[in-house]
Symmetry: C2
Amino acid sequence: MSFRYFILGLLTQQPMSGYDVKRFLESFAWLIGSPSFGSVYPTLHALLEDDLVTVDVVQNEGKPPRKIYSITQAGRHALQEWIGQPVDPDASLKAFLMRLILASNLSRAGLIAHLQQRRAQVAVYLDSLEQVVEAPAETTGLGQRLAFDYGMAAATTEIAWLDRTLERLS
Amino acid sequence: MSFRYFILGLLTQQPMSGYDVKRFLESFAWLIGSPSFGSVYPTLHALLEDDLVTVDVVQNEGKPPRKIYSITQAGRHALQEWIGQPVDPDASLKAFLMRLILASNLSRAGLIAHLQQRRAQVAVYLDSLEQVVEAPAETTGLGQRLAFDYGMAAATTEIAWLDRTLERLS
DNA sequence: TCACTCATGTAATTGGTTACATGATTAG
DNA sequence: CTAATCATGTAACCAATTACATGAGTGA
């Protein structure tokens, strides 16, 4: 479900082929992962079926013809609507970043709201972690303690990054 | 890779019911996500089928009886073997943390190797990001730039955390 | 010569969620 | 008197991966 709209969102920046989409997504693989071809082609077909995109077949010497997909007005509308609906309070980092990339294409205010929302969520998590870590539970193994420690470090930097970014944007 | 081995690994710490497993996993939900009951119960059944765990049914006033699963010798062996095999070079953060939690239950040397491996991977990623960011490409949107910026911040703290942790462990 | 990039696609299978059913007990 | 917690489970569904097929061009 989420890659569907993410791919649709990429097409707001410029028309692309399935292959292009995959290459683009690859550059974010470390952050959000990248779907396989067996996923992106059918997704594009489904988008086409729903009239959210159009195809433009471009002939290509020797190689198979490239199929360039463009977003339609209906597609933009569907995307806008999807972005508008509220975010799941315990959405993953991946979901946050995907929305971040999409939100920036649409409205500055929406982008800022999204960052603020994320900040609140991470703060809540950081709080709960501090309680867990400070509690004198002796039932936790080394691995758990390391993972919690990692979580605190990650959450702390994320909040710092969010604050820095929010300041830069206003 | 999946939750199969992760759940099996939890049972090395102590015998647990499916409900316990889920609760435990919940505390790591922010970091690695938590599977639903519709996933953990069948996983436990499959583990039992393969003789990697045993059940112990404990009667429970009014409530349904608790089914306490314990890891078997074969289970420990399978887990050891699984952890022994090489890690995918572009494994996700989630995969890294899952292995981290498991590795700590087994051998100190393996844990350290795992952290070092991760450090090398993150360093490679950080390097590639710096090249992308420094390149004067004007084709990237605001969202992309923000995501890359986030990636750099996250990778930098992760490396710092890994170094700190490795030092503490030796 | 071998492997990789470009470029599309389909089919089988996996791994997981959602939504259900059951039912006593406790907290607001 | 309602909602949540405890506690198990199944079945329908869905997203995505894996593995395949096709085939020319390029670089080591």
